[in-house]
Symmetry: C2
Subunit: 345 residues, 2 copies
């Protein structure tokens, strides 16, 4: 019996066993699609704006482009193409006095979960999917990420902003209407803090950004999935999820805030193309993605924003939960080869 391979993440002290003995092909994960049951009263659908808190940001259709509604103050507008609302059940809650960081962290064992938790309703159409959406719509979503990030990152009690998307009930999406989420936190979370610390160590040792070096290396390797003028996409060496892939911008930047219009459009195209390949290959699996970034100026030289896609195709069970070590039955090289094939279908 051949050995399975034990691999460490590029940056984190996170190990995975690449155990392909079960020889599952990516398509083996495809499940018959259960029709998403659209409730008659989806709180994110147009006409139900009274079911949610007032929006903090609304994009309205205008002649040829999009226009922000901030100045109009009508945050219950029904005529929208995208809206951002506070989460009705927030994990992180704004402070009573927004000017300071009261009670942010108390000692090193607890604190108030101060911050923000918002929902980005990506489209008025309940069933829209980024794999099939118009590029203009995905560009709108990315612009909303930037708008809200820019606003939240300026608050004195915010140390990190996590932008993420859950798709499918099994991946934690309790609402099936197309939406992303943003959570602003009073500290830099464990995984991102670990990446920042390790990329600083690398920068101190090599004088270069580890992600910039990875882009050069992995875009030439079998784990490469897509490579264009602005972005590269690959299955990371120590993927903890079957079919996991990362999208990295070629221009070094620690955050998405200064994406140019051309880069934003390229990001939208890259995201759509890869999510469509995954959807076609594994029959629209439950899936999460998250943008890793930094809002701390001190990290500008060595931290490099990217988007990580986590298809929800395996269950983390007693071994993973007890040890923090993962078992992945699909080699990243196989995942990349299959996703590349899916582009040409």
């Amino acid at each position: 019996m051949p050995y399975n391979e034990l691999r460490k993440d590029y940056l984190l002290d996170r190990w995975v066993v690449i155990a392909t003995e079960r020889a599952r092909r990516p398509t083996d994960f495809a499940k018959p699609k259960t029709e998403s049951t659209k409730t008659v009263s989806c709180p994110l659908c147009p006409g139900n704006e009274q079911m949610t808190p007032p929006a903090v940001l609304v994009y309205l259709p205008s002649d040829g482009g999009i226009r922000k509604d901030k100045e109009e103050g009508d945050f219950r507008s029904k005529n929208w193409v995208l809206r951002v609302i506070p989460n009705l059940y927030p994990a992180f809650v704004p402070p009573k006095n927004p000017a300071d960081g009261e009670h942010v962290m108390n000692g090193d064992s607890f604190g108030n979960a101060i911050g923000h938790h918002e929902v980005i309703v990506e489209s008025p159409n309940h069933g829209d999917h980024p794999a099939d959406a118009e590029i203009t719509q995905i560009v709108q979503v990315i612009n909303a990420y930037k708008d809200r990030l820019g606003d939240l990152a300026q608050k004195p009690y915010v140390k990190y902003v996590q932008i993420f998307r859950n798709h499918g009930l099994e991946a934690g999406a309790s609402l099936s209407h197309a939406h992303s989420q943003i959570i602003a936190t009073p500290f830099v979370p464990t995984i991102v803090a670990g990446e920042i610390a390790a990329s600083k160590t690398y920068y101190d040792q090599h004088g270069t950004c580890i992600f910039c070096d990875l882009i050069k290396k992995e875009s030439q390797n079998p784990c490469s999935i897509l490579d264009n003028a602005h972005f590269t996409v690959f299955a990371p060496y120590a993927s903890v999820n079957p079919m996991e892939f990362w999208i990295l911008p070629k221009r070094h930047d620690s955050s998405i805030l200064s994406l140019t219009p051309a880069e934003t459009e390229a990001f939208a195209q890259t995201l759509k193309a890869t999510l469509k390949a995954l959807k076609d290959l594994v029959n629209d699996p439950p899936c999460n993605y998250g943008i890793h970034l930094s809002i701390d100026k001190d990290t500008d030289n060595y931290y490099h924003w990217h988007l990580e896609v986590y298809p929800h195709l395996a269950i983390w069970a007693g071994f993973e939960k007890s040890t923090g070590v993962y078992i992945n039955t699909v080699a990243p090289e196989t995942a990349a080869a299959e996703l590349k094939k899916a582009f040409n279908r």
Copy 2:
């Protein structure tokens, strides 16, 4: 709106938001039970021994007690009360030369996944459940944990042995026959290594074992669930899973290897009582448990074995996977109070 609470694990740099705004009571998690579909050809059922690799350990019924079959060499015996077999699809695979640790870890970024992966078939009865089993049967299972741990821990390439149990398809149990698993690894996994390092720091600072101190403290707190002569059970302060609880032995020991017969019986009774409370309260939820222990003599003074129970009642989604920070909608104090009530039903 009140703040949610941000809590850090006793030992690990692992944070959780206790977000009870959704006000879910533990019983809200109860799902209607789908009948477990027993396949006609369960490979773990008696009579199907030829479907698995030969056993490495068999317990046979004998007059009044249990007897090991090792010396008889009939590892395909059909007359068994418990058997341990190699996993047909092992995550960790024994080395070609068992005498040494060849290729165990190559540099710090990869290695061969050398070790062992075994399945403990806990009973000949397909549907047995530890919440309803005879104490003698659970004692047998714990004895099998000890027997296999003792054997595996002596191998030169083994640095850690993870004993765990998956129950229910959604918690990763691909077979519904009552079973546990054991994985021996060539390194101490991330979470356990983190606990060992932090408990050493605590020992160096305070001269005491942090778990011994926790036992005194938490057995007096509202998160206490059960306390008897040999064990205490509580919902940990920074539980990352709804209804999570830990079982800690009162006698300081880094491993289960020297459990006395009286302690083993008390452990079986404690495990059964708490798993039964969980089963009654949340309608037999999918669940994992894992034993955290150390096989390194150097850790004897400061590491303290325990069993952690992870009910599978929430989905770790884009936020958790991106950040390593968890959101728990049931406060540990509430979990403890409800589990205590369930004892008296």
